[in-house]
């Protein structure tokens, strides 16, 4: 039968194709594989990409990632040593270092993730609850701030800022990595890095922190204003002092100059008038009369006065009277 021959030929071709394709397999770059014979791993894992040979039918290829993989933990609410509750979100990088161990122990990436969850979460929890918040936030390279930048920092915080960072975030992260690594190699996993991705206050604490920040700002604002007023008063005070100094110095100079001039004048007058004090008194009195005279003066004189003595009598005894 021609049909039967055709079928027989077809089966043969198919068998050859299956056998060949079962013998050769390709491994993508970034992959590694473990050859499994009846469910049991055989030989070393294959890590080189390219075309490879295995036994058809009896051997099976299990492929795994060779690349760096992400582990991203759920954010955890953990209290720190200072009893502040914080959200902490860690992220880790890992790779399958020993594909055979990996296959034997956790089999899949999902399995690996769940192991990593258990291990990293507990280590992070231990480390965070054993550290002050400040240690988690700052790093070992913390430089105590100084100078102008402190202007906006309240005094009690300044003291706190001076505290040296004992461990710092990097050191805590390194400890987490080291602690986690101790347990992990048995799963054929290499933990490359663990990092604290996010660290934040829990909602209720955050509100309090905001309230604190607001009150801090208000205090700083008040301080700035009063500093301004203080400086202003200082400047005005200095100004007042200087003004008084200038004015009083000037007054002193004026008095000195005038005094000296008055003294000189007094000396000159004295020297001149002592020639005949009586005549000086007489002539000066007459001057004074002239000067003291004004339009509103009313003068009452008797006919006894020297000026009018001749009004009553034209001469005689009265004329000989002593004139004062």
């Amino acid at each position: 039968m021609k049909n039967a021959l055709n079928i027989g030929f077809g089966v043969l071709v198919l068998a050859i194709v299956v056998a060949v394709s079962g013998t050769f397999y390709t491994l993508e770059e970034g992959e590694q594989a473990v050859i499994v014979q009846f469910g049991r791993p055989v030989g070393d894992p294959v890590t080189e990409a390219g075309l490879h040979v295995k036994l058809p039918f009896v051997q099976d290829v299990r492929r795994f990632e060779k690349r760096l993989l992400i582990w991203d933990g759920d954010p955890n609410q953990i209290p720190t040593k200072g009893r502040e509750f914080i959200w902490i979100d860690t992220t880790a990088r890992w790779r399958i270092a020993d594909a055979r161990k990996f296959l034997e122990n956790v089999a899949t990436e999902a399995g690996a993730r769940s192991r990593l969850n258990d291990i990293i979460d507990s280590v992070v929890r231990d480390q965070v609850s054993g550290s002050e918040l400040v240690e988690l936030v700052r790093s070992a390279s913390w430089v105590v701030p100084e100078g102008e930048i402190l202007e906006e920092v309240p005094a009690e915080v300044r003291e706190e800022l001076k505290k040296a960072v004992v461990r710092g975030r990097e050191e805590i992260t390194r400890t987490i990595l080291a602690e986690a690594r101790k347990v992990i190699p048995q799963y054929g996993i290499e933990l490359v890095d663990v990092r604290i991705k996010r660290l934040d206050y829990v909602e209720s604490v955050r509100e309090k922190v905001y309230a604190r920040m607001i009150s801090e700002r208000k205090r700083i604002a008040a301080r700035f204003r009063s500093e301004g007023e203080g400086r202003s008063a200082e400047i005005l005070g200095t100004m007042e002092k200087e003004l008084r100094q200038i004015r009083s110095t000037a007054y002193r100079r004026v008095q000195e100059i005038r005094g000296k001039a008055d003294a000189e004048a007094t000396r000159v007058y004295g020297a001149a008038y002592s020639g005949d004090p009586e005549f000086y008194a007489f002539s000066r009195t007459l001057e004074a009369y002239k000067e003291g005279q004004n339009k509103n003066s009313v003068v009452i004189l008797t006919t006894d006065s020297d000026y009018y003595r001749y009004l009553k009598q034209s001469g005689g005894t009265g004329a000989t009277r002593q004139i004062r």
Partner: protein
């Protein structure tokens, strides 16, 4: 093989086979397969891309832009990676659309963005930092085959590093002068970590965008800024007043001193003048004291009396003058003068 297909298809094919002949079928299939093979033997690489050719999965060669040939699919595969393009990651905000139609639009603030951008500073305050990371794929082989999810890795590392750097500084520092230093530090540290991971990524730049206090706290921050302005203003006003008044006072002081000096000169000159005059008069007086004395007296009276408002000359024998003479201070009204019934020589003209 058509032989194994269900009955109706078999029948159908048999009819066609009868029409074409079995050679025709084989030729047709072979032609189609060949066409597919040939189709996959060439590829073009765009100017900003690099092509990576994998033979049986293993990296065989990388090729630059242009037309290239390879073995057909199944043997060689090509992956194209945009190595020359600068790629960008945004943190704390999201660009919806850029540029062509006008201004850049940003996604409205969402909680997811705030989760990224809110972080703790060294003084344990909260700050809202938005930033971008620009990078290039420097080594496409590493980028593809050393790290899975390279993009997420870049994002995770960027967040971790930014938080560490900001946590190591004061909030006010990051808000003001520290911006440049922060981005430089983040870039350097990120690059080091990404190189350690062998991501094949080269950072172009890390730049801080909006750095602000959290929304609730913003008004308080603004108040501090206002207060700082107030402080400067108050101080300047005081300084201005001082600058205005002190030079003025100096000028006035100089003026009063100069005036005093003027007074001194005048006083001494007058004294000397008067003294000289007195001496001169005295010399002459001593020659005829009696006459001179009388003359001086009469001259003086003669100049005084015409100036007076009123002059009363009373007889020395008249004793009871005061009871009826009404004396007033100040000007004496004309009526009063008449009333008094006295002989008033008002503005007396007698010499």
């Amino acid at each position: 093989m058509p032989t194994y297909e269900p009955e109706d298809i078999v029948n159908d094919l048999r009819k066609r086979a009868a029409a074409l002949g079995s050679r025709g079928i084989i030729a047709g299939i072979a032609g189609a397969v060949l066409l597919i093979f040939l189709w996959s033997t060439w590829f073009t690489v765009q100017p900003e891309e690099t092509g990576i050719v994998q033979r049986f999965g293993a990296v065989n060669r990388t090729v630059g832009p242009g037309l290239h040939f390879k073995f057909p699919d199944g043997i060689e595969r090509v992956r194209l990676v945009p190595t020359a393009r600068v790629l960008k990651e945004e943190f704390g905000f999201g660009t919806i659309a850029t540029g062509a139609a006008g201004r850049t639009q940003y996604a409205p603030g969402k909680k997811a963005f705030k989760d990224v951008s809110l972080m703790l500073t060294g003084d344990l305050n909260v700050i809202d930092v938005q930033w971008i990371v620009q990078y290039r794929i420097e080594d496409p082989v590493r980028y593809l085959f050393r790290v899975r999810e390279s993009r997420q890795t870049i994002r995770d590392i960027a967040e971790a590093v930014m938080r560490r750097v900001v946590g190591n500084r004061l909030g006010s520092d990051v808000l003001t002068v520290g911006r440049v230093a922060v981005s430089a530090e983040v870039k350097e540290e990120m690059q080091k970590i990404l190189s350690d991971y062998e991501t094949g990524v080269r950072l172009v730049t890390v730049e801080l965008q909006d750095v602000t206090p959290p929304d609730t706290v913003k008004p308080a921050f603004n108040e501090v800024n206002e207060a700082r302005q107030d402080r400067e203003r108050t101080i300047n006003q005081a300084q201005e007043q001082a600058n205005r008044e002190i030079p003025k006072a100096r000028g006035e002081a100089t003026r009063t001193i100069t005036e005093a000096e003027g007074y001194a000169v005048e006083r001494v000159n007058r004294a000397n003048g008067e003294a000289t005059r007195f001496r001169a008069i005295l010399t002459e007086y001593q020659r005829a004291p009696e006459v001179t004395r009388r003359r001086l007296y009469l001259e003086a009276m003669g100049s005084i009396l015409p100036e007076a408002q009123a002059l009363y000359i009373v007889d020395s024998d008249q004793k009871a003058l005061l009871p009826w003479l009404r004396l007033e201070s100040g000007p004496m009204p004309a009526a009063a003068v008449k009333e008094s019934g006295l002989e008033g020589a008002k503005g007396g003209r007698q010499p």
